[in-house]
Amino acid sequence: MTFDQYKTDGFFDEYFVEDGKPRSYVRKIVKTINEMDPGELYNRQKAAEALMFETGITFTLYNTDETKEDIIPFDILPRIIPHREWEYIELGLKQRVEALNRFVADVYGDQKILKDKVVPKDLVLSSKAYRKQLLGIKPPRGIWTHISGIDLVRDDQGEFLVLEDNMRCPSGVSYVLENRAILKRIFPIVFQASHISPVEEYPSKLREMLEYLVPDKDNPTVAVLTPGMYNSAFFEHAFLAREMSVDLVQGSDLIVEDDFVYMRTTRGLQKVDSIYRRLDDDFLDPKMFRPDSLLGVPGIMKAWAKGNVALVNAPGTGVSDDKAIYSFVPQIIKYYLGEDPILSNVQTHLCRNKAELDFVVKNLEHLVVKPVAESGGYGILIGPKASKKEREAFKEKLLANPDNYIAQPVVSLSRAPVVVQESGMEGRHVDLRPFILYGKEIFVLNGGLTRVALKKGSLVVNSSQGGGSKDTWVIEPGKTKGTDA
């Protein structure tokens, strides 16, 4: 199997400038693969899948009668980003996260940005993710958006654009680490060809951040709070707890007494200081949010408000990743930091504005329409791929509740080669979700999760909808020769 027959089909390709002409920083790997025995690449691909199954790197599917586990398909050809491009992305991400954190703090503080009418007040206050109960609360060290995952795509010119901000416990980082570990085991030969920035430090950085939030204690007790083993991301919760060497707790393991949080241990109650919670705001505390939540911890919000426990991310941060508010992020950056945004947004139409709604309705077949408060690729319409009937049905939903939707032009998304079968490689669309930690300083994990739409022609990369992933390499500076074409 070689790249000789590989076609870019006119898309921006992560490996090839044009057919037969690899980018400078992938030349080595292309050469290595072209020189391998026929069939070997495919064998390695199969070996990687078997390894994931055997080691139980799975997620849970709910759409069948019986809950079923499956692996997230993993493609062994790494996605490669040269360092100079990465540097620029990293700066852009830091800038964005800093501004969004200031925004959340402001929204639950003095609301200056709303008073100055930079972001429409009603848009923020009517957001599903806005929690009015939190007004006036100051979290430890003033940090709200501790962990973010910001989805980037590349347009047909190869420019990185922000597609979506994820500020409420984004998942996927465990795959970044597992993908790297698997690739090292299955396909060590490709690593010899390049100098790749490590990703292994993430768990210790995460733990450092969680401990930083407890200023007055030397060895604070940290825990990861999970909804339980039937949650689709349970693998990741357990993975992170294990990698950080901290306890993985469920709501029922925690109890609040005198506004302090404790966990039930075989030797009695033990105080918990900092919690990475992988539980939505709604379920966190039945005393403040959904009273029917059995997953949460009664009283934990009061303990947090009093500064007796750190919650990561802070409750209420969802207000900063609402898809309608997304369109204001460039102004938010300008407002708080006085800088122009380094990374651009995808052009966005707010359907709550009459003129834009009319435009969207007329141009449905050219647009992607998304509900503002959903994630995971649910409830979206991809205009060009939808049938006329689907568009008509969607139009009705849109007109019934225009505030709930935004629309964007279809971004073509860059492609990268994947191993499809014994016969060869084909291009598939990819995105990139880097992970950013906000503790003592802002830390961006090298690379991030490359998600790939494995269905031919598909633009949907979500794992719940047939997406897979790739290991993502940032090539270290000064160690690749030649120039990018």
Partner: protein
């Protein structure tokens, strides 16, 4: 450690041990088949009665025969203690505490689950029972190995060990009980035939004890078998051995020195173990083996309940 995690790790140990013992028992029975007539193989009956789940069996099957017993104890998903359900529960417990157990332990449990839930597993068991049960036994040995070799001797290890040891003590008592009906001399003074020796040999085999038994005793006699499986201090599947090790883990968990107790499970198991320390095989046979084992199982259950109350509740 977290109470919930302690409980899961304890049950992980119990379910893996339970599956192993059930497989062992069936395997030995199948191997005996060529030597016995159908009539003698009514021994399948005790195999069910010893589980204490006869009523469940009767809900699913009309008669006790080879196929039904194998199906019930191995693949029946409605029977909570079948090997397949043990593998599912062991894996669920392991999955919920993956951050606590070593990667190797998880992978072994995961492997066991895939082994037994494989679509062709039932066909393999019927075609090549020897290979099928042999593979299960290997996985069980692997499990013991990774526990010994990859998990620190912290509380989590001791809860795991506690679960395994209590389960194994219970299972050894049940293996012994299977034969206690059929094999004890019916009347006083009845001769012990060489043929009975074969069956007692099989029984020792069920507990993987035959070789070690022979190192200690020349002949196979009921009294010596009881001595070995209940009272031997060195054989790792004897009741006394299991209890001592369970007791030790309890003391490691609480930090209380031996000879003292700081909680109910320590007290209960200490009493039970020291009583066995001062028991002889002839005492057991005098009372009747079945009665003795029955009482033992009840007291062992009390230890289990005390563990639950002290640490998990």
């Amino acid at each position: 450690m977290l109470s919930r995690v302690a409980e899961s790790v304890y049950w992980l140990g119990r379910y893996m041990e339970r599956a192993d013992n059930t497989g062992r028992l069936l395997d030995v029975h199948l191997m005996q088949m060529p030597e016995f007539t159908q009539e003698e193989l009514e021994l399948w009956g005790p195999l069910i009665s010893v589980t204490g789940d006869e009523a469940v069996f009767k809900l699913h099957y009309d008669q006790i025969n080879l196929d039904n017993v194998l199906d019930f104890l191995t693949f029946n998903r409605d029977y909570s203690n079948s090997i397949i359900n043990c593998s599912i529960r062991a894996r669920e417990n392991a999955r919920s505490i993956r951050e606590t157990i070593s990667k190797e332990i998880w992978e072994t449990v995961n492997h066991f689950y895939h082994q037994i839930t494989h679509p062709k597993a039932a066909a393999l068991m019927r075609r090549e029972p020897d290979e099928f049960f042999g593979e299960i036994r290997k996985t069980a040995h692997l499990f013991s190995g990774v526990i010994e070799g990859t998990q620190s001797r912290s509380q989590s290890w001791h809860f795991l060990n506690l679960g395994r040891m209590l389960e194994r003590a219970d299972k050894t008592s049940r293996i012994l009980d299977v034969k206690s009906f059929a094999l004890m001399p019916k009347t006083k003074g009845q001769k012990f035939s060489p043929y009975d020796g074969l069956i007692w040999g099989a029984l020792l085999n069920s507990a993987s004890a035959l070789e070690m038994y022979k190192k200690r005793f020349r002949q196979v006699t009921p009294e010596q078998v009881v001595d070995f499986l209940v009272l031997d201090g060195h054989f790792p599947r004897s009741i006394l051995f299991c209890l001592s090790h369970a007791e030790n883990s309890l003391h490691q968990i609480s930090g209380t020195p031996h000879g003292n107790f700081s909680n109910q499970p320590e007290k209960q198991i200490g009493l039970l173990r020291s009583e066995i320390d001062f028991t002889e095989a002839s005492d057991i046979l005098e009372l009747s083996l079945h009665k003795y084992l029955d009482q033992f199982q009840l007291r062992l259950n009390k230890v289990g309940n005390a563990v639950y109350e002290s640490f998990f509740a």
